[in-house]
Symmetry: C2
Subunit: 209 residues, 2 copies
Amino acid sequence: MKRFHERGHYDRSVIQDILDAGFHCHVGFVHQGQPFVLPTLYWHDEESIYIHGSAASRMIEASADAPLCITVTHLDALVLTRSAFHHSANYRSVTILGQGRMITDAAECAAQLRLMMERLFPGRWDRLRPVTPQEIKATRVIALPLSEASAKIRTGPPDEDEEDLAWPVWGGVIPLRTTVEAPVPDVTSLLHGIDDAPHCAVNPGTRDA
Amino acid sequence: MKRFHERGHYDRSVIQDILDAGFHCHVGFVHQGQPFVLPTLYWHDEESIYIHGSAASRMIEASADAPLCITVTHLDALVLTRSAFHHSANYRSVTILGQGRMITDAAECAAQLRLMMERLFPGRWDRLRPVTPQEIKATRVIALPLSEASAKIRTGPPDEDEEDLAWPVWGGVIPLRTTVEAPVPDVTSLLHGIDDAPHCAVNPGTRDA
């Protein structure tokens, strides 16, 4: 946030909108002085963002009671100017800093995993083969409060020096879009004639650039 | 890499393929014990991955001569099983650990920025308003060697317990796709009738799930 201060947003509704638009984040943690960045799925409420993983995973182990960073990014467009220098990208990102808290209570853990599933596929959790105590025991949920969340956004057309505009080369934006494609049933679904593929309720990172 | 070892790949050609398929990464660095994860653009050759930024940016400052992690992720599909526990995602990711090196030589810096542009928009660099020494001076390039790069990949249909397969709920994959849309000219391009919008030579994260 030191530079490009004009791109910084701290408004809670802006942060919630960016989190609402995705389910995929990058988690940063430190292990023996070395930063690690790993992709994973997330979900959130008004207070916290959540990730999960195996109880044995290094990411989960290193995320509990330790400094953590979770970043959610939607890349919306490439921005092309007449000079190399002013090329840019349109994006929306949220970066959340803080201390991870491991959810150790089995019931709370199960409730959170249900929320993760319900957010993506409403109604699916109750139709699935029920989770077993062993599965809950093998899974950990980490909560990171949104109190230290900040958003950065760039939108709109190129921004460049007035005197560059006469240079005879194309300028504008090239939008990028993430689409959820048609579900592909596995062999079992085909064999059993089960064709009620769920609809993904979150449309990741898609908006007009 | 402790768990899901079967998903780990270290083959250089696998790593190059994943890097070839994108231009967008997440950079992890440590500042006073706190990890930070920021999105940025990257380019690469057989030896290193490169990022750039303002000479004044915290990311660039913290990335020089310091432990760094750069992760490139392509999320290809959501994978739905009959139990919540075995839900997964198809993805390809590369994580590169190491020490960042700042490129201080102005000519080498300019040559690298040219490579970044040429990779995305071949031929564009030479048509742009030339970079000035001041612009090069205000820009930094960080190189991170690929010697400690590892890849993780999940592909294919659901993988779940045999006894779950009879459970009457849909299983399969829901592919995600990133598409580069039609270029949108800015006002100046429209006014001057410049309609030769460049073609983006990298098609980010797109493959059959």
